[in-house]
């Protein structure tokens, strides 16, 4: 395994170097907030969850062993925390208001109905909303695998390490999630959308 500078920082923190932890925090804070946001879609709650992840990392420093990549270790803490959050049902995802400059934000009906209008389709905002709803409805383990693959850029091997499962299980989780996406997003597909919206 290639030398992992982040693991070296974690070892330095174990040795009492507080600045090493601060460096890791600054490097991974945006990724952790983004990752948690994919599970709860509430920015304030996502920040709380990301802080929880770093508190767990801080508390686990004494037990840390650099046997795997630090990034994998951190995402494992984050994935477990977010999956527990979802499974406990502590959080009900909220529909966040889009940024005022975002396409479709001025449309008062953009968040009202279940199916978007063709105009929304043309703007692309509805597709984004449909993807968010699709992710929200995915089984938790499929969602975790898909988010780690598509948004966090982890390899199948890294996802298997994060989710503490086999590579073949990860392959199956991501494939099933992608097949489900083709069905859920079919009305927006260039090939099938015309028929579905007709």
């Amino acid at each position: 395994m290639a030398p992992d500078p982040d693991a070296a920082l974690m070892v330095a923190f174990q040795g009492g170097d507080a600045s090493a932890f601060r460096t890791l925090f600054e490097k991974y804070a945006p990724a952790m907030v983004s990752f948690c946001h994919r599970f709860v879609r509430d920015h304030a709650r996502a920040e709380e969850l990301a802080q929880d992840v770093f508190l767990k990392l801080h508390a686990a420093a004494r037990r840390y062993e650099p046997s795997a990549r630090f990034k994998t270790y951190l995402y494992r803490i984050a994935a477990n925390h977010c999956l527990n959050e979802v499974r406990r049902g502590k959080h009900q995802p909220v529909r966040e208001q889009p940024h005022p400059d975002a396409p479709g934000a001025a449309d008062p009906d953009a968040h009202a109905g279940s199916l978007p209008t063709p105009e929304e389709v043309s703007q692309g905002a509805a597709l984004g909303r449909a993807v968010e709803v699709f992710l929200e409805r995915l089984p938790a383990n499929q969602r975790a695998a898909l988010v780690l693959c598509r948004f966090e850029g982890l390899s199948y091997e890294e996802i298997a390490a994060v989710l503490d499962t086999s590579v073949s299980a990860v392959k199956s989780l991501i494939h099933r999630a992608t097949v489900a996406a083709t069905a859920a997003l079919a009305p927006f597909s260039p090939a099938e959308g015309k028929q579905a919206l007709r």
Partner: protein
């Protein structure tokens, strides 16, 4: 013909080993339904990828985290009762209680021994006087009770 449908997503994600990837590519060249499925999966994946990134952490994010960390590392001051280290004090207290009970029982036992000795001595006096047949009235009983003093020559 075995359609490699379950491998198509891994194929698109570059997660197949070279040998399997070559097999899937050979199959796709001659199988239109699998090519259609590959396009559907590729489109769905790109739609997911196009989801806007969540907002970055707020400016207060770091300060809030370190405030939470400080609260954990330096817990609020505790009351005097809570500050007692019961883990160490409890065994000492138990030992002290045991000693106190032992002392009380031992003292009680000593007192009973002394009382019994006095009763035995009195009984001996009675037996001695009774053996000469001279205990007739209350005055004789009082003399028996104080026979030791008389023996020692006290008034």
């Amino acid at each position: 013909m075995n359609h490699p449908l379950s491998d198509l997503t891994a194929y698109l994600n570059g997660a197949l080993d070279p040998e399997r990837r070559a097999e899937v590519e050979r199959h796709l060249e001659g199988c239109a339904p699998c090519r259609t499925e590959r396009e559907r999966l590729a489109w769905a994946s790109s739609a997911i990828d196009a989801l806007p990134a969540p907002p970055p952490p707020s400016p207060q994010f770091e300060a809030r985290f370190y405030a939470r960390l400080a609260a954990i590392e330096q817990p609020a001051p505790r009351g005097w009762l809570a500050s007692i280290r019961w883990r160490y004090l409890a065994p000492l207290g138990a030992a002290a209680a045991f000693t106190a009970v032992f002392v009380v029982l031992w003292a009680s036992h000593g007192r009973r021994q002394a009382e019994m000795a006095a009763q035995l001595e009195l009984l001996e006096n009675y037996e001695l006087v009774a053996s000469v047949g001279s205990v007739d009235g209350p005055e004789d009983v009082a003399v028996v009770a104080h026979l030791d003093e008389l023996r020692e020559g006290r008034p």
